[in-house]
């Protein structure tokens, strides 16, 4: 399954994405909102659901939710409220989740995706705020489960898309764009491994050309970006097989098993859920004022798709560069633009950032911020290359040194001894030595063999440890070999 072309079926995919907001404290109490603390060490009577406790809304969580809505062009509710979603589960100590039912904070809006020259928008149904549940841990081979409530009460955005997604690749793209937008907004770190971004997929298939919505399945437990496409690939192929062999799709929840790369039905005692939503009487409603929206709008940064467009239209970058630069890390944007301000060759800056700076980030597994390179320093380095003070090759070495300790570029070049040889006499000496050592090559050169010249240049560069200016070396070779 999976690899055959299936021209007759069209997948219809909608995503429900949960994003933990990076507030200092939890949604309804003052416990720290932090990952990785010892079990149950970030809890208090409120998030433990102790009798008599009451929730109080974290105002920053509301602002963050509105920022997300503004970014995707949603309608921001002027009146919104919280509701209780009732169900029993050990990681939900009150046995109801404070969520939003009929008045979500944001509705409508869309996530713009770009593939090649085409822009496709995935419409959103809604974005609402709720509290996260804790974690149940099922220790292998034990008759009981363990409950850790540190995560309980973490502010959570639920972002629900329309079933507008048509391919697994598009789903992955949608998820990447959502994530990058959250990073740009600075409201979540969207780390799938730590669970701060989680994704459930609703999938159905229909004969191509049909516009019916068919029975769908829901895939849960996709906890890595890499798994989204593979889970969908598997599930689409499975549904096609079922349909083509005359079967029916059963509406059900399926779990993705990354080890076996398949989705499995969650059998077990499935109970029809009746969440008995009703308005949360412990919380007053929220009225969003126009002035608050204006204030939040003024805090909106350039969004990934706007930045991408600016990189193409203002800085003249190729689409590929604009994509890569805008999708890596929001800190790249001001970094890049500051560099260009100081060294006005955007494409050269882009090459350096993509090829060298990103590579250093990858090797060190750090963000741009942690990497600690200032845009001014990179511009200084590019200027040095431009002025032939250091070869492009050696400049990489200089960059690495700068990352270890930030100093003026000229100092590093001097310290490494990789400054370009400006003394003509040294170059002439090195060329003469190369010619003397390789008389037969010199003969070839005179006979017009291109390779011979390159070989001699290489010999000279080797002897000067890359510090000679290649065009100067060529000129001197031609002069001393008597080709002029």
């Amino acid at each position: 399954m999976g690899s055959r072309a299936r021209p007759d079926w069209e997948p219809v995919i909608g995503l429900e994405v949960h994003v933990q907001l990076r507030t200092k404290s939890k949604m309804f109490c003052g416990c720290e909102n932090r990952f990785g603390a010892p079990p149950n060490s970030l809890t208090c009577p409120v998030c433990l659901g102790h009798p008599g406790t009451l929730p109080v809304i974290n105002e920053t969580a509301i602002s963050y939710a509105i920022l997300a809505g503004l970014a995707f062009g949603c309608d921001i509710a002027r009146y919104t409220k919280f509701d209780r979603k009732n169900y029993y589960y050990p990681d939900l100590p009150k046995n109801y989740q404070i969520s939003q039912f009929d008045f979500p904070i944001c509705s409508g809006g869309a996530v713009p995706l770009r593939s090649g020259d085409e822009t496709r928008s995935i419409r959103l149904v809604r974005i609402h705020l709720e509290e996260d549940a804790g974690k149940n841990i099922h220790a292998e081979g034990r008759p009981e489960s363990l409950v850790d409530l540190n995560r309980t009460g973490t502010p959570l955005l639920e972002i629900v898309s329309e079933p507008d997604i048509r391919t697994p690749a598009e789903a992955a793209d949608y998820l990447r764009t959502l994530r990058m937008t959250m990073l740009y907004l600075g409201i979540s770190d969207c780390n799938m491994e730590e669970g701060s971004l989680r994704c459930d997929c609703n999938v159905s298939i229909r004969p191509r050309g049909s516009d019916r919505l068919e029975t769908r399945t829901e895939i849960k437990n996709i906890n890595s970006f890499g798994f989204v496409a593979s889970a969908l690939d598997y599930e689409i192929a499975r549904q096609i097989d079922v349909r083509e062999s005359g079967g029916e799709i059963v509406q059900e929840t399926r779990l993705f098993d990354p080890d076996r790369n398949e989705t499995r039905s969650m059998r077990g005692k499935e109970e029809a859920h009746d969440y008995r939503y009703f308005p949360e009487p412990d919380l007053a409603p929220i009225r969003v004022a126009e002035s608050q929206l204006d204030e939040l709008r003024s805090r909106l940064p350039g969004l990934p798709w706007e930045v991408r467009q600016r990189f193409v239209e203002v800085h003249g970058l190729p689409e590929y560069d604009a994509d890569v630069l805008s999708q890596r890390d929001p800190a790249v944007v001001p970094f890049f633009e500051r560099c260009v301000e100081l060294y006005a060759q955007p494409k050269k800056v882009s090459n350096w950032v993509i090829n060298h700076v990103f590579q250093e980030m990858n090797e060190r597994k750090v963000s741009l911020e942690v990497l600690g390179l200032s845009p001014d320093r990179l511009a200084e380095l590019l200027g040095a290359v431009e002025r032939n003070e250091v070869s492009a090759q050696n400049a990489r070495e200089v960059l690495r040194k700068l990352l270890d300790a930030d100093r003026p570029v000229a100092d590093v070049i001097r310290e490494l001894g990789v400054g370009m040889i400006s003394d003509q006499g040294v170059v002439r000496e090195a060329v003469q030595a190369a010619l003397d050592a390789n008389p037969s090559v010199v003969q070839d050169l005179r006979n017009g063999k291109k390779n011979a010249r390159n070989f001699l240049v290489g010999q000279v560069m080797k002897a000067t440890r890359g510090k000679a200016n290649p065009s100067e070396v060529i000129a001197v070779i031609e002069e001393l070999a008597g080709l002029e």
């Binding site: 659901g49 009798p51 008599g52 009732n86 029993y88 005692k269 009746d274 008995r276 412990d282 007053a284």
Partner: protein, 489 residues
């Protein structure tokens, strides 16, 4: 006659020590409690330690707080660091709250001394205190009768030992109705007037903590300390807190009092009606203008209350599941079984009934017909009061249609028990303040309570009516057969 206000004054001026008062209160409680079972816990050690602390501060010339040395109790559905906070339920046996309620914290910071926790119908669900998971409280006027409920422990204790302030909670009359049955004064403040943080929720949109005491003056004394915005309760109102004690001095002359005809229907006991109408005449004599008003949706209030309170309760009580605190069954096949058995074993019959009703009215397919409908009728009931309060400053009616009934007499049929709430639930639905105060007794000698309802956040107005009545009459000074004095004899 002993009052909390006089105890406060005498401790302040040094005529008695806080320790002496506390010892006397504890001795009085020890004397009456075997007959009444009003207190579930009595904090001898911590109360005396707190009293000593007050005396030390006084001796050192430090401000010991506005209620220094005043004894108080709280209903067992209000958390305190002292003792257990069980809400009278077996499901919370042994539960020690890791935090104190805002009201307890505020009273303790004001220097008041927590002497114990009082009995109640489990989670406040009931009108007789017979639904307590640890046995009923008895009425000090007749120990074969109920004290009313759910704050029956508080009302019985207040009747038996004057001078102590009790905090109860009122969801549909749970402060006012037992006060009526026990001949004491109790205020259900405006919804949002007092923080609910630390009140084990029954129905969040109706619950309110309020004082139960021997007089309106003592209620005013307590309210002044517990009222006001609490950052831990989003539903606590940011409305200035007046000096309730000095408000009392304003009297009632010229105030308009409405008598709603819908509250004087056939279901009201004839003697109750007589006593209440006598109270109206007394107030008229004080210069109150009495007018007839109409609250046309009154008959719908109780079914509306039953739906809304049950719905909220079904969700509020979901947390008692045997996982994080409280009772867990000894035998369970799996998780769902563990939940169901723990709850089945831990909750009493009335609580189970209300959870079932609440789950039903919220469930898919029935929500609109029941819950949504009830929220709409709630609006109509609120409007009734808004219109009436355009005409009058307050409304007077009986607190309960009947007087204290014999233990066991209304247990067979839940509707019989719900019927005693019909005059108190409208104030909870309308979020307005209501006070009950004694206005005489029946020929059998049982107390009758009159109720005054006021506009939202005009708690001082209903207190003024009760206080004016009490300066004119002595019904609140009458003492039941089971009683004990705090005063030196």
């Amino acid at each position: 006659m002993t009052s909390a206000a006089s105890i406060r004054d005498r401790i302040r001026d040094g005529s008695v020590s806080a320790r002496r008062v506390t010892e006397r209160v504890l001795a009085a409680v020890d004397r009456v409690n075997p007959d009444l079972h009003a207190y579930l816990e009595i904090f001898h050690d911590s109360a005396l330690a707190s009293a000593d602390d007050v005396d030390r501060r006084l001796a050192a010339g430090d401000d010991p707080g506005p209620l220094a040395g005043v004894p108080f109790s709280v209903k067992a559905n209000i958390t305190s660091l002292e003792g257990e906070s069980t809400a009278g339920s077996k499901i919370l046996r042994g539960y020690r709250a890791p935090y104190a309620s805002t009201v307890v914290r505020r009273l303790q910071e004001a220097g008041a001394i927590l002497v114990g926790k009082t009995n109640l119908d489990e989670f406040g669900m009931g009108s007789s205190t017979e639904n307590s998971g640890v046995g009923p409280t008895r009425n000090p006027w007749d120990t074969d009768r109920v004290p009313g409920g759910s704050s029956g422990g508080a009302a019985a204790a207040a009747a038996a030992i004057p001078g102590v302030i009790h905090l109860g909670s009122d969801t549909g009359g749970s402060i006012r109705q037992p006060c009526s049955y026990c001949g004491v004064t109790g205020l259900k403040p405006t919804y949002g007037r007092v923080s609910r943080y630390g009140l084990l929720a029954f129905a969040s949109s109706l619950d309110q903590i309020g004082p139960v005491a021997g007089s309106a003056e003592d209620c005013a004394l307590a309210l002044g300390q517990i009222a006001g915005r609490d950052p831990l309760d989003s539903t606590s109102a940011d409305v200035p807190v007046p000096d309730y004690l000095s408000e009392l001095g304003k009297g009632v002359e010229g105030l308009r009092l409405g008598i709603p005809r819908e509250y004087f229907v056939d279901a009201i006991d004839a003697e109750v009606r007589e006593r209440v109408m006598e109270a109206v005449e007394t107030l008229r004599g004080l210069g109150v203008e009495v007018e007839k008003v109409s609250l046309p949706h009154t008959e719908y209030a109780n079914p509306t209350y039953v739906i809304i309170s049950a719905a909220e309760a079904s969700s509020n009580l979901a947390r008692y599941d045997g996982v994080h605190f409280g009772h867990r069954t000894a035998r369970a096949d799996d998780l769902v079984d563990m939940y169901s058995r723990s709850r089945g074993e831990g909750f009493g019959a009335e609580v189970k009934r209300r959870i079932m009703v609440g789950t039903f009215v919220l469930s898919s397919g029935y929500y609109d017909a029941f819950y949504l409908k009830a929220m709409k009728v709630r609006r109509l009931i609120r409007r009734d009061f808004e219109r009436a309060f355009e005409q009058v400053d307050a409304i007077l009616c009986p607190t309960s249609p009947v007087t204290a009934f014999p233990l066991g007499s209304r247990l067979d049929d839940p509707l019989k028990l719900y019927a005693v709430d019909i005059l108190t639930v409208p104030a909870n639905l309308a979020a307005i303040p209501g006070i009950s105060f004694p206005c005489g007794r029946t020929r059998e000698g049982l107390p009758v309570g009159a109720q005054v309802l006021g506009r939202p956040f005009e708690d001082s107005v209903v207190l003024r009516f009760a206080h004016a009545y009490q300066t004119e009459t002595d019904h609140h000074r009458e003492r039941p057969p089971v009683s004990a004095d705090v005063e030196e004899s």
